[in-house]
Symmetry: C2
Subunit: 226 residues, 2 copies
């Protein structure tokens, strides 16, 4: 008989999918540093050895979790009329995903050769082609866009790494940016005139708008070489 009624153990059976799901929960709830094989084993009420049967190592775990999040972005964001519009929605999808799961930002920027990045390359690349960028310039154009995205991804992850999980996120962001702005405004005026000026805008800026502005800047650059 091949199809038996699953026994107790079969029901709670470990699988890569269940492990990744639990990992994402820990990452979202308690932050990047809280994901350890011990914490994961405790949450799944098993041992770390059992986890290694399904997952090669921590990098495999993080890459799979990241791909899981990014896959939703690239498959959902195929709407929009113009290529610019599609790129914008896709980029905002990445932004929102990183906002919801800041650890994704860290993982993307730390490991640019994982499949999640290939997904993004493909999604962006097709639109860059549709935009009419000449073939010889496509490689540089797409990787520039991607580097910008990965760069901001890393920055948001760095911000999230700082803040204590038991605090209100918006409040922390505000006080943190104000602290940085205060530090910047105390810099030597002759050595750092520009940064001092930036310090006035820093606390009020909107991350999402900043991100979109960067995308638009690069898109504008692409139009000029079309």
């Amino acid at each position: 008989m091949k199809n038996k009624i699953p026994t107790e153990r079969r029901t709670n059976a470990l699988s890569k999918a269940r492990i990744v799901e639990a990992a994402i929960e820990i990452l979202d709830r308690e932050g990047e540093d809280a994901l350890t094989f011990r914490a994961l084993a405790a949450r799944l009420s098993t041992g770390s050895g059992a986890i290694y049967w399904h997952v090669a190592d921590k990098n495999d775990l993080l890459a799979t979790a990241t791909d899981h999040v990014i896959a939703r972005v690239t498959t959902n964001a195929v709407r929009g009329s113009t290529p610019q519009e599609v790129i914008r929605t896709m980029a905002l999808g990445v932004f929102d995903a990183i906002h919801a799961h800041p650890w994704v930002g860290g993982q993307l920027s730390r490991n640019p050769w994982q499949y999640a990045v290939v997904r993004l390359l493909e999604g962006v690349g097709g639109q860059v082609q549709a935009l009419g960028v000449p073939e010889h310039a496509q490689f540089n154009a797409v990787t520039a866009l991607m580097s910008f995205i990965l760069g901001l991804a890393g920055q948001y992850a760095a911000g999230a790494r700082l803040f204590p999980p038991d605090m209100d996120r918006a409040a922390f962001r505000k006080t943190f940016l104000e602290t940085v702005a205060a530090r910047w405004s105390r810099l030597d005026p002759t050595e750092h005139p520009f940064v001092r000026q930036l310090s006035k805008v820093l606390p009020e800026h909107d991350d999402r708008e900043q991100f979109l502005a960067g995308i638009d800047l690069i898109l504008a650059g692409m139009e000029s070489i079309r």
Copy 2:
């Protein structure tokens, strides 16, 4: 008497500068992962406790080392006629610094609030102003440029993290890119047409030229909003 001839111990006295110098040597020679307080203590023939007397923690050490490298870039790269030229030379200075010290890339992208990044912001920001970008757009323009730089910085650091220090660097890069290209070319043609096409260009591309092309793309975008 205040000025004595330094004794033996005084001569080899530990100092933050000597520690950072030794750290940079380890990082350059053996890579990011080789820098541990144990290795550092061994090289300085002392104990880890003595190092902590001069350095707050590992992040302090890495930030100081990074600033040491970046400071040379921002102070040297004030040449050039047009703002575009200055930004280009400065960006290439960052590229060359990261090429010579790949761990700098990792540290920059992992910790965007350290002083080294402020240095870059100031250097780039002044030129963006000179470029005639309207004031309300300067913040987004400068941070976009910075995100692109940090993004590529992280990517190069990720590449360097992969390769075994006892191998020829160029040779490793070549075979690594060829491996990735081969993997990409084996992807499903209907799902990944663009990445498959990229795989043909990937192994031959020049990192420095790719970096400069990205900078030029963003600069072109800035001109369009001037």
